[in-house]
């Protein structure tokens, strides 16, 4: 097979960092090539060089065995290279057609936009690859999965042969992920070639033709799904042995800690988001709440943590009614919360790590005597947590926003776990984290459970739910449609429940 794209000896230095170190990569015509690596391994830098956003310090790029020079995205597109960024570059108030033609508008009569012929072309492309995108709908009305297909159409409209997809599955539901991979397969079958960037092992093994693993700016190796398995790939990514199978002891379930009865919660738009939900969580167990994003999980967590109040039903925590309690009162009962959006809710990014580590205890002894803040105690506390929870930072006194995502999450976990807690809500605790951090946080959650803490785990990652939970509650359309024992439950069964297709 002839390589359509070759990168030779690409090196890129940033002040203090060697982001890409002599990287070689070949992409064959008609293949899906996965670029696998942890956050910060240099995947995105490499792709930005290919797309003309960065100039490499050394190295050459060949397309169809011809050396090319890309100094801007325009050059890249002219050479048939197109990229879909992780965060879409779409104008929400424009139609699909307007978005696709943006920057490459067809006009007639010397200045009037011609929308008809681009729309027809988009319809053709959509039919050819069964993308099912209506050129006249507004982007803001489209689900995320369809928006992503609009981005792909943008590339096909410009006749790109090499498609780069940066973390394309990060924003998708499991169903949308399957659809995306069907589309990718039909694209390569008709002669396109795809590089897709990810850090999710399962996807790589299921959908890629070849896999290149990058660590610390270097290529660690290239393999195929047939030759590799998850543990092997994880070790290549992290650079040490990783045991993905968790060491999970049998649960020692004791008394009831949280009791939720006939709960009704409204969302920000005053629509019913949680509809007559009832369940219990016991000491020593993890109850996993599975469900596709947006089926009421966020609102359920808000009600349980006091960030909003239910309109009907009741919530009892450790025998006390907390329907109308403030977040502080609930925290003081011995409850902890790892919030879904760690940067918005869980941290003050501009404040120091030390200050963030006392975010919900700063007013208590020993961190305050009366109203006077005890800075030494706060610093000691920070140094302890940084050590015990393996937060990688040069100092406790730097802004938490300068840490990587995994270390930010360790700050939150450290803060919540270093109090004595009896109940924990963990919402999407590993979203966007790398393999090493995921492994770490999973083990900590299990440790807490074995200590007798009651844990409510909310996650859209079905694998995570299956691995950690003792019981699984499936949420669909605001209701808990089933609670099943994790032991004996199958992925297919839960997946169908999540889609609202099957009854338990």
């Amino acid at each position: 097979m002839k390589p359509i794209l070759e990168l030779k000896g690409i090196t890129k230095r940033f002040p203090g960092v060697l982001a890409n170190d002599n990287i070689n990569l070949t992409l064959n015509k008609g293949e899906i090539h996965a670029l696998l690596g942890e956050n910060g391994a240099g995947k995105s830098t490499l792709m930005n060089i290919l797309y003309g956003l960065y100039d490499p310090d050394e190295g050459e790029i060949f397309v169809n065995e011809e050396k090319i020079n890309v100094s801007s995205p325009r050059d890249a597109i002219a050479r048939g290279i197109g990229m879909v960024h992780q965060h879409f570059m779409l104008v929400p108030v424009f139609t699909v057609t307007e978005n696709v033609m943006l920057g490459d508008e067809t006009t007639h009569l010397g200045g009037f936009l011609d929308r008809k012929s681009p729309a027809a072309r988009i319809r053709e492309i959509s039919d050819e690859y069964s993308l099912e995108v209506d050129p006249d709908s507004y982007v803001r009305d489209l689900p995320v999965g369809v928006q992503q297909r609009v981005e792909i159409i943008k590339l096909l409209y410009r006749e790109a042969d090499i498609l780069i997809l940066d973390e394309p599955t990060a924003v998708l539901t499991p169903q949308e992920v399957d659809e995306l991979f069907t589309i990718m397969r039909s694209l390569v079958n008709s002669g396109k070639s795809i590089i897709f960037i990810t850090h999710k092992l399962r996807e790589v093994l299921t959908f890629a033709d070849r896999i290149t693993v990058i660590r610390g700016g270097k290529v660690v190796g290239t393999t195929t799904p047939k030759e590799a398995d998850q543990n092997q790939l994880a070790s290549m990514m992290v650079g040490r042995d990783v045991d993905l199978a968790l060491n999970k002891k049998t649960a020692n379930i004791k008394e009831k800690v949280l009791e939720v009865q006939d709960l009704v919660v409204l969302n920000d738009l005053n629509q019913v988001a949680v509809n007559e939900v009832s369940f219990n969580v016991h000491s020593g167990e993890i109850l996993g709440v599975a469900g596709v994003q947006g089926n009421g999980q966020t609102e359920l967590v808000k009600a349980i943590t006091g960030l909003s109040h239910p309109v009907e039903g009741k919530i009892d925590l450790l025998g006390q009614n907390i329907d109308r309690s403030t977040p502080r009162a609930i925290t003081e009962l011995g409850s902890a919360h790892i919030p879904e959006d760690r940067q918005q809710d869980g941290l003050v990014l501009t404040a120091t790590i030390a200050d963030n580590l006392v975010l919900n205890t700063y007013y208590l002894d020993p961190f305050a005597k009366g109203v006077v803040i005890q800075e030494d105690q706060i610093r000691d506390n920070a140094e302890n947590i940084i050590k015990n929870f393996d937060v990688r930072t040069p100092s406790a006194m730097i802004p938490v926003g300068s840490l990587s995502g995994g270390n930010q999450q360790k700050v939150i976990v450290g803060r919540e776990f270093s109090r004595s807690i009896k109940f924990l809500v963990a919402a999407q605790p590993t979203r966007g984290l790398d393999v090493g951090s995921i492994e770490y946080i999973h083990n900590r959650l299990l440790e807490k459970r074995d200590d007798g803490c009651a844990i409510l785990l909310v996650s859209t990652e079905l694998d995570e739910i299956m691995e950690l939970s003792d019981r699984i509650a499936v949420m669909f359309d605001g209701k808990i449609i089933a609670v099943v024992d994790a032991e004996g439950a199958t992925k297919e069964q839960i997946g169908l429940l999540m889609a609202g297709v099957a009854e338990a």
Partner: protein, 416 residues
């Protein structure tokens, strides 16, 4: 690996270089360079707007440059004499030994401190708001209300000893301004009404209200103009020298209050709450802080500090309340709080700078005939450089700073 490299790197460099590098990252360096550049551009502006310079260019190029430099020099000389004092006169007065001459020679310096005092209070008011993510544009109005309540306490309470009357009048000023801050604070917390709009509107109400008071209840019954009666002797802030020096106790009270605001913000749990709500209200809510209460409290304290600015002027300088007695202290305060990075220490320093510039400008206009507006332009240059640090960094080739931990987050019009 990269860490090791860095360590070796720093070892190789000599101490002086490291100092320069660190200094070039510091926000203080940026501020000083901004002030310096503002002065430089201001001088250029004086030169290009001076008729004599053009006439001199007709003679020769060199003559033109010389005249331009002289014009700029004489402007800044007049500014210096007006704000700090004329060294020649000071030496002469000391040699002469006449007490009044000596006071007169030193007066510009002390008068600048007098002008700085309301700037300190008003700057603290704005800075405290900024720290909590609130844009208090209503400092001018709160200042007027604070002045009115302070004057009322200082006129209508009679027969008190100064040790009681002065604090009561100051507290009355704090309460008046605090009340005026409470209203927009409450509206924001309860209804989400944006404080920028509401404080601006409250300004107009305050101006008209003080006008009403000065034509009605507070008017001096013995006079015909809208001016209040003089305040009781016992409510006046102590002056340290004989006339013409007007330096009074208010300046030191301002420094004390700045220190108290510093303690409040950075050393107490209240301050931790205020700063967290300012930096990330969603995280504050998650952590169990009461956003509504904090917002209202912040506006009350901010308004109270503004009220102290007004009280200080009427109790320390004017000894009565007149229409339009404040020449925009509350609006200048927004700029100087930014200049001081919303830190009490920074506010004190920039308030003193503003006080010296303002006082010097008046003298400059009188003695050198330079329009007072040049100072406004100068301040504008300095602030533009502060607001656009990239210009200063490029011109002086400074390093990008590491993430600024003291950066104050302001929320936009979204209001959350």
């Amino acid at each position: 690996m990269s860490k090791k490299e860095k360590k070796q790197d720093t070892k190789k460099k000599d101490a002086g270089k490291i100092f320069l590098e660190e200094a070039s990252k510091s926000p203080l360096t940026l501020t000083i360079l901004a002030i310096f550049s503002g002065l430089l551009l201001g001088g250029l502006l004086v030169a290009v707007t001076s008729v004599e310079v053009y006439q001199a260019f007709d003679i020769s190029f060199w003559e033109g440059i010389k005249t331009g430099a002289r014009a700029a020099w004489s402007t800044y000389e007049a500014l210096f004499f007006g704000s700090i004092g004329n060294p020649g006169k000071i030496i002469e007065a000391i040699r002469g030994g006449e007490a009044e001459d000596i006071r007169r020679a030193f007066n510009p310096f002390f008068e600048s401190l007098v002008v700085s005092t309301p700037y300190i209070f008003a700057g603290l008011a704005v800075a405290l708001g900024f720290r909590v993510g609130l844009f208090n544009i209503g400092v001018e109005g709160q200042l007027y209300i604070g002045a009115a309540t302070a004057v009322a306490a200082a006129i209508f309470l009679k027969g008190l000893p100064a040790i009681i009357h002065v604090p009561i009048s100051l507290i009355a000023g704090f309460i008046g301004g605090g009340l005026w801050g409470f209203i927009p604070g409450f509206l924001k917390a309860a209804t989400g009404g944006h404080e920028v709009i509401n404080t601006i509107m409250m300004n107009y109400i305050a101006f008209r209200l003080s006008e009403f008071l000065l034509r009605g209840p507070l008017k001096n019954p013995e006079g015909f103009t809208p001016v209040s009666a003089p305040i009781e002797e016992s409510a006046r802030l102590l002056r340290f020298f004989q006339p013409p020096i007007r330096l009074h106790l208010g300046f030191f009270i301002a420094l004390l209050v700045a220190y108290l605001v510093y303690l409040l913000l950075f050393k107490t749990t209240w301050g931790y709450t205020l700063r967290t709500v300012g930096a990330n209200p969603r995280a504050a809510k998650y952590a169990g802080m009461n956003i509504m209460r904090t917002t209202i409290l912040a506006m009350v304290i901010s308004g109270g500090l503004a009220g102290l600015a007004g009280a200080n002027e009427v109790l320390g300088v004017n000894h009565n309340l007149a229409l339009a007695f404040s020449s925009g202290y509350g609006f200048d305060a927004i700029a100087l709080a930014l200049l001081g990075n919303s830190h009490p220490m920074g506010v004190v320093l920039s308030a003193i700078l503003f006080g010296f510039l303002k006082n010097g400008a008046i003298q400059m206009q009188l003695s050198a005939g330079i329009p007072i507006d040049i100072i406004a332009v100068l301040q504008a240059f300095i602030l533009a450089f502060i607001a656009a640090p990239a210009i200063i960094r490029t011109v002086y080739r400074l390093k990008e700073p590491d993430i600024d931990i003291d950066a104050v987050t302001l929320h936009g019009w979204g209001g959350n």
